[in-house]
Amino acid sequence: MSRSFIARNPSILWFLASLAVFTLVITVLSEGFGIGLIPTAFVKTLGKTLCLCLVAVAMDLIWGYTGILSLGHMAFFAVGGYMTGMWLMYARTEEIVVQALASGPIPATPEEVAQGVTTQIFGVVGGSDLPAIWSFAHSAWLQLPLVLIVPGLLALVFGWLAFRARVNGVYLSILTQAMTLALALYLFQNDSGLRGNNGLSGLQNLPGLGHVSQATTSILFFLASAMLLALGYVLAAFVISGKFGSALRGIRDDEQRLRFLGYPVEGYKLFIFTLTAMIAAIAGAFYYPQAGIINPAELAPIASIYLAVWVAIGGRGRLYGAVIGAAFVSLLSSWFTGGMAPSIPLGFYTIHWVDWWTVLLGLSFVAVTLFAPKGIGGLFDRLAHIATPARHGAALGPNDGALQEKEAQE
């Protein structure tokens, strides 16, 4: 019975193998490293999709396994993006400023460079001082750890307040949504110190790698995203295997029972909430350099709702389901909204998918919920013949001699 971790979770091997084959094929077909069949823009789309798959894995941990429908994980994703974005933007602007000042008669002092960077970045929102939250942005070693620290602390404090007060179910979802909205509204302000609705831009340029083409960078980011997704998947599989996973599913199915078994349920929720927030933040930190730009619209509550839809369509409670859902729906969505899907002329009306895509998405969400509650991932279960217990209704009383259900309800 005591088998290895991989043997107990065969989906890990399947997943890693498929991911490896996929990355290999894309790399070979890419412009940067291969024969150039796939344009760089599409490599970036695929790299971003892998990051979305990672955040979907985090969402599946918190929602599919623990049963906490968080509608705020895309906020952690975006905060992670902002944290890398600050460093990328500062470093890139610094390079430009140094270059510009180099033509001057006397070499620029560090103060002049810093002032130049500040004017470059904040001129657009009318600022001339570097906001305090940018204090670490000049150094990758100081700024990049914030990718984990800031969302982690945010999740820890928020989760501590919410879980300690035993906010559950739909109320918790609303609370996470409110947090997301509040954060977005704050970031929209020009004096938030993060350039208001301009957001951060030029993130696709890596400092010190100005001479490397975007074709190459895109593949490097694509491979890094794939590696990250693999690590995240294995970590998530480790968390849900064994007794810890059992306890998480226990929280989802009957939190009270678990509490009376002696488990500090609030501690578990806080742990998984913070862990998944940090996974989401790392995903965001790799997503936005590929997107090139981040602004507060990325934190809009709708983003987190999309995340929930991906996981629902892919199949809750299965890690591969979440990955499939995120990849499938987000790629499909960029195909439909990118104007690539052919319009359907009906004679009296033409269906333009750019307008009708959300309707289609909504309908498929309803269809999945009604007809395939286990989502796309559930199809794999059918192949593997995994059955769920279907014992519903009046389960009380195996025969007439027993006390009837009515009595047990009293």
Binding site: Y263, T388, L396, P398, L403
Partner: protein, 246 residues
């Protein structure tokens, strides 16, 4: 004999309704006790207070040889201190196997970090097997708990309580929905368990209590109306009036 659990002078009010009114109750370290009473007598609220789900307005609840107040502890802490609770309806984790259910309940560290790095050993598997044997589920370990019959779920829940090695078991209507034979087995199990620990059984069914053959506490309107052997309390005219006579 000193008592394991001592509840004294406890009152609790919900929105002006006094659910428990100056209730006092004590049970020894190895004793079987039945608690009966009409609906609304406060039986479930009494269990809620002992397990930390409800905080009383006044009174004290202490537990153990070196009496410790339970009033400042969370549900999980009280459970870890050695009080197990069985709910009225069988509550097991239906989507998990019988063996996973029991593993989850085994006495061990409960902190997230310790559980995350906890690894199953042969000793754990032996213990799970022994528990399953004890309640007659030895052939069902790999099955999902949701597939079990109602009576089997009740036993699984009892086995999960035993896995925690509690010193006090609170059992809410264990025989509800069981067949005649299942009831017989449950009675025997409870009597056996009470030899090594304290067991409090809340029950409606007089036949079942008669078979338990133990001291009975009758609750009425949130306080103790009578206490003693079943024959003794059933002769009490007040008890007859509020409970048995109807």
């Amino acid at each position: 004999m000193s008592s394991l659990l001592e509840v004294s002078g406890v009152s609790v009010t919900f929105d002006g309704f006094r659910a428990i009114n100056n209730l006092s109750f004590a049970i020894g370290a190895a004793e079987l006790r039945a608690v009966i009473g009409p609906n609304g007598a406060g039986k479930t609220t009494f269990m809620d207070i002992v397990t930390g789900k409800t905080r009383p307005d006044e009174g004290t609840v202490t537990f153990g040889e070196m009496p410790r107040s339970l009033l400042k502890m969370s549900e999980a802490q009280i459970a870890r201190a050695g009080i197990g609770r069985k709910f009225q309806r069988p509550t097991v984790f239906e989507d998990q196997t019988v063996s996973e259910n029991l593993m989850l309940a085994l006495k061990a560290h409960r902190a997230p970090w310790r559980v995350l790095f906890w690894r199953e050993t042969q000793a754990h598997r032996d213990r799970v097997q022994a528990l399953a044997d004890q309640v007659g589920l030895e052939d069902h370990l790999p099955r999902k708990a949701g597939e079990l019959s109602h009576g089997q779920k009740q036993w699984l829940e009892i086995a999960m309580l035993l896995a925690q090695e509690p010193r006090l078991l609170l059992v809410d209507e264990p025989a509800a929905g069981m067949s005649f034979i299942e009831r017989e087995q449950t009675t025997a199990l409870l009597v056996e368990l009470a030899k090594t620990r304290a067991v409090v059984v809340v029950e409606h069914d007089m036949d079942f209590i008669r078979r338990l053959n133990c001291r009975v506490t009758v609750l009425h309107e949130g306080s103790v109306l009578a206490e003693g052997s079943l024959d003794h309390v059933t002769k009490n005219p007040q008890v007859i009036e509020v409970y048995l006579g109807r």
